[in-house]
Subunit: 332 residues, 2 copies
């Protein structure tokens, strides 16, 4: 069918009118430039619109616009191992001189030989031993400085990028977009709370008081009349799975209206969010891009996404297909 | 000495000029109208000025203007017993019908007979039993509603005021004044976190995510596919004494630059605040007004202020003399 010039003109005007009435912003002001046009991006924008437009039946006052994000695999990468594990191995190497006994003691000996597979063969107990040897015994201030130094200098074993350069550009845009719409953004991560706080404000724009994670116990001490908090080799809280919902209530005391995760460890956070009295937006980042990032889900030891995929489908949650939904992965 | 009219005129002009140069606001805009002129009020205003004026050597960026407040005895009254104890006794009476065994079982039997002294004779173990019987076994949502209903209806045993009417007017002004100057205000209380959150936003302007207190453990459960958090009869955290410094690091991850308390339970919070790298303002509310409120300090079982008074003197912390520093106690 041949379309006349007049018809094309009318069509063009109609598109403009529709675009204006739907508040589609010009490309230059696009809040989510790294997100491909499509249903994922649209679902996010539709949700934000319906909770922020005063006349919307789903309008939510600003104080209640709470959004919670997992960190590993949701805001930054997590392969071939959680980045905090790289930190643990780097710290073991750095501390080896003070621990000559590690040369023959597992799992430390294997780490020092560079055999990470053997180092992890001892299972959970060995991992815990390595975590405690590197995360406890110093003050909170000392640990903060150790993390600051590490994040400023360490490089990812595969990409050779600084770890803070492996945050996801589309998620940075999403954080900004939500905050520009009155949301308060929080992190609830299985990772260490004090491993994240030294850099999350600069990298994600999320201040320490909005960052929650797993933690060791601390002890208040007066050292020559000066108070310090000493990090103890004892788990305080594991912020994973059901622990995320527990921690959200403990830390925020208000139910999120939006939650963002990528693994089964985030499932209860999403369930808790979805079950609120008002609108609840749930999103899972599905790692489908073996070329630009990694592709993994149901079978992965790290960031396994199995039950979550089924539940997302059953409940109509938004699933990001990283390969097709994201124009960029990392910041340029 | 006789002062000429001309001299008086010059003196008046001088005072005006001095007032303007010191940014003294006209009485109508006074941010602390219930605070008597004097050194306490001046110390507060001097501190706020020095951390907020851009050219001040002690200037602190807004994100780091963290102020933490104790609740009982600092923001609201705590005599003749912590208000949460009144809640416990009221709940025991309300629940008695479901617990016929309480008629003969201590400490419940004494509560039901109105003999609170006998009810407390069992010491810590009896208190814990009463707390758990009234604070656990329900979901977080159910407990929130119980607290909402109680705070809306219960009356103080002595003043017959609603409990939320026994907050301190000067402290409400102080909270507003700090927030108007870019501070983020937090509560760190030995009282129950979920006992405060249902009303702190309305009464103090402090949202739930900025309220921290003692807590019981909770368990995530799916009930017919609907997630709930069930409150368990098990202590999770006691937010008192050294626990306050531990909790501040855990919850905020940043050291306060101002802390406000009234008892030895707040001492470590103040020590932690005072020991920061920059300016740290510490204030204790000293209950000296037996007529309008209560007078107590070193010998009191509730809100004992003993070591704190000594340390405040030694370290030059600000001590509010309630009788002489406050024009009003409660809101009108």
């Amino acid at each position: 069918m041949k379309i006349s010039c007049r018809h094309r003109f009318i069509a063009l005007v109609s598109v403009c009118v529709l675009a204006c009435s739907a508040n589609i912003v010009p490309a230059a002001d696009d809040p989510l430039p790294s997100w491909q046009d499509g249903k994922t991006r649209q679902a996010i924008m539709d949700f934000v619109r319906k909770v922020t437009e005063a006349e919307s039946p789903d309008f939510v006052v600003e104080a209640k616009r709470i959004a919670t994000f997992d960190n590993d695999g949701t805001l930054w990468a997590e392969q071939p191992m959680y980045f905090q594990a790289c930190f643990v191995f780097d710290r073991i190497k750095a501390l080896a001189r003070q621990h000559p006994e590690w040369e023959t003691k597992e799992p430390f000996a294997s780490v020092l030989k560079g055999d990470l597979k053997a180092a992890l063969a001892g299972g959970e107990r060995g991992v815990l031993e390595m975590v405690m040897a590197t995360h406890a015994g110093m003050t909170t201030g000392e640990f903060e400085q150790i993390v600051r130094d590490w994040i400023a200098s360490a490089k990812h074993p595969v990409t050779r990028r600084p770890f803070a350069g492996m945050v996801y550009q589309p998620m940075l845009e999403l954080l900004d977009y939500l905050r520009a719409n009155g949301f308060k953004t929080f992190i609830f991560s299985g990772g260490g709370i004090e491993f994240m706080r030294p850099w999350t404000e600069k990298v994600y724009g999320i201040p320490p008081e909005q960052v929650f994670g797993s933690s060791v116990k601390t002890r208040f001490e007066l050292r020559y009349d000066k108070p310090v908090l000493v990090r103890l080799p004892e788990i305080n809280f594991i912020d994973d799975k059901a622990g995320k919902a527990v921690a959200i209530q403990q830390h925020i005391g208000r139910r999120p209206i939006a939650a963002f995760g990528n693994s089964d460890g985030d499932l209860q956070m999403l369930q808790w969010t979805a079950a609120g009295p008002g609108p609840g937006f749930c999103l899972l980042v599905h790692h489908t891009d073996a070329e630009r990032e990694w592709a993994y889900d149901r079978q992965s030891d790290i960031g396994r996404l199995d039950q979550g995929l089924d539940e997302a489908k059953a409940k109509g949650w938004t699933v990001v297909d990283m390969k097709n939904d994201w124009k960029e992965i990392y910041p340029k």
